[in-house]
Homo-oligomer: 339 residues x 2
DNA sequence: CTGAAAGCGCTTACAG
DNA sequence: CTGAAAGCGCTTACAG
């Protein structure tokens, strides 16, 4: 097998005696009724035969489009985000796009830094999970720098933008009701100190439901960077110690639930007899836990699909500032053995 | 805030009255003793001030380098691979590289397909987790297409190549010994039907250790695509039923262990009294399991580091075919409560 | 120590 | 229906 030199349009042009222009038109499907059937066939066959692929750098340079999308996740190694990423990658690739991933760790500073790094490389679109306090930056990015951005998992009310998110309020409502119908009355909510939409909506959903039952609320809000730490666990432990009557907990995120589960395990509490549990977000860990934990699962395939299809679609409709893509998907309560 | 048009070298050249050549040299640190200090400073200050970033498409087109690395993982949504990916991404980015991810699902056909898609786009290097039967393709990629490739997690003996892998034999040996020293004598190995190096080495490590103790071997090898399925669980269940004396199991991968754990749980076996467990690869699920499962953990940060640093380094030493980067890192036995 | 100029491989307005 | 030519923003061999 000989090493084949990379072939260019010029080579094809020479070989076939057809101008580069014509070849370019054919490749980019701009042939339409401009070019004769025979020429099209001739060129396409030849391209197929030699396996020609256009040089994407040259295309980018010429068109100003890089066929690149940046996915700024909260944490790309988190099972939720990596599952989303995997599904998007495939669809994106089939549409000729590549995706670059990065993680904000939910830190505003890091997100800004990342943004600056990417802004000047040619990026066609951003899919962003904005961290706390990123509202103004996001607004600028969209309305002043005129970047194509799709917001994921959370959104802001103060300005219009594209997003795809979960129906968080309803999810929390459904979970709380489910706990109630299991006979629990001292239902607690353990969430995160945050203004991010999913977090406030989950809390709201819980609160309003408790209110409708005229039941007392118990809620604990943990700082974001304490979720996975011993401090976080301590906070949960204290909360439980101070409110020993609590007989059910709705956890606002899976990481929160994992910390909570550690505490509950160490206290020797029985699930669901002593304390019933429902958590947002599914993970294989919940299914394997003893007993299996009930969850509000996010529809990962649908989410990924909307996200990438949506941004692909928006990029096609170019500068039409009026087109907004806003999707709110339903979560699914999966009843296992913990509630 | 006004929208600033993207600035190019020509703009800088005009503004400063310095030729593009000089500016290019300065930006690419090829200034050295060719350009006067003052000019360098003047240019650098200006670049800093206006926040100029070179157009990477133009650079790619000109140099033939895309500053892109493809990471072909077995499954990028698997916690092990996504953790590796996250760490590599950061280092790569700081070195001016972007990484494109994809998943082979351990299927040869898919890997070939992926490779063809990438080959003609300019990619500077591949980091590949080769699936079963990919040996010839890999060899061709390296020796005939002269691509820069770093192999991860597994390697082949039949030709020389760069790789970073775990010391699998030693890990299996250590795990088996540990099970033995807990008093277990009917120690089983549950692995995967595969010629991939880690899988055969783990089996070897187990076998030889058992042999050195003059103990009977019990091994079950499951088909790769059955690992996470009910068939896989059924195979394990049968294996255990046919060999009721088994009092310990070494699982060759975490997914295998998860399937095994389901079976053990459903059979009501007590860990470690009835049956002791050690699994390869750590996952948070093992720590939270009841009881916490002991594992041979892979050193993820070191692995990611070697992987990306290694390929960065190899790319610098360019065409020097003699340079091989081969690293074998030690796993760590973490004793929890299952052995 | 510095610069003019060619050229990487495309796309696209323009001309015929 | 088809083609010649400009130009995207760089890098680098060459000349001075």
């Amino acid at each position: 097998m000989k090493k084949k030199k990379k072939i260019s349009m010029k080579d094809i042009s020479k070989e076939l005696g057809i101008s580069i222009t014509t070849i370019s038109f054919i490749i980019n499907k701009k042939a339409e009724n401009k070019i004769s059937k025979e020429v099209i066939k001739k060129v396409e066959d030849y391209i197929e035969k030699v396996g020609y692929k256009p040089n994407s750098s040259a295309q980018s340079l010429r068109t100003g489009k890089s066929k690149t999308i940046v996915f700024m996740a909260e944490d790309i190694s988190d099972p939720f985000f990596s599952a989303i990423a995997k599904q998007m990658e495939e669809i994106a690739f089939n549409n000729g796009y590549k995706i670059i991933y990065c993680s904000t760790e939910n830190k505003k500073e890091r997100a800004i830094e990342l943004l600056n790094l990417f802004k000047d490389r040619q990026v066609d679109a951003f899919i962003i999970t904005p961290p706390e306090g990123f509202e103004d930056e996001l607004k600028r990015l969209i309305y002043e720098e005129h970047q194509m951005v799709m917001v994921f998992d959370r959104y802001f009310d103060s300005f219009k933008h594209n997003y795809v998110v979960l129906e968080n309020y309803k999810g929390a409502e459904e979970a709380t009701r489910s706990l109630y119908s299991s006979g629990k009355r001292k239902i607690a909510f353990i969430g995160i100190e945050s203004n991010l939409s999913p977090l406030v909506q989950r809390l709201e959903g819980y609160k309003n439901t408790m209110n409708s039952y005229q039941l007392q609320e118990y809620s604990l809000l943990i700082k974001f960077d304490q979720i996975k730490t011993l401090e976080g666990q301590k906070a949960i432990k204290n909360f439980l110690a101070q409110n020993p009557e609590i007989d059910a907990i709705l956890f606002a995120t899976n990481n929160l639930a994992i910390s909570g589960l550690r505490v509950i395990k160490s206290k020797g509490l029985k699930i669901p007899e002593d304390i019933a549990i429902i958590s947002f977000d599914d993970r294989d860990i919940f299914e394997l836990f003893t007993p299996p934990i009930s969850v509000i699962a996010q529809p990962v395939p649908e989410l990924a699909n909307e996200l990438i299809k949506g941004t692909l679609q928006l990029m096609k409709t170019k500068e039409t500032r009026e087109v907004f893509y806003q999707k709110v998907l339903k979560g699914k309560l999966i009843n296992r053995k913990s509630n």
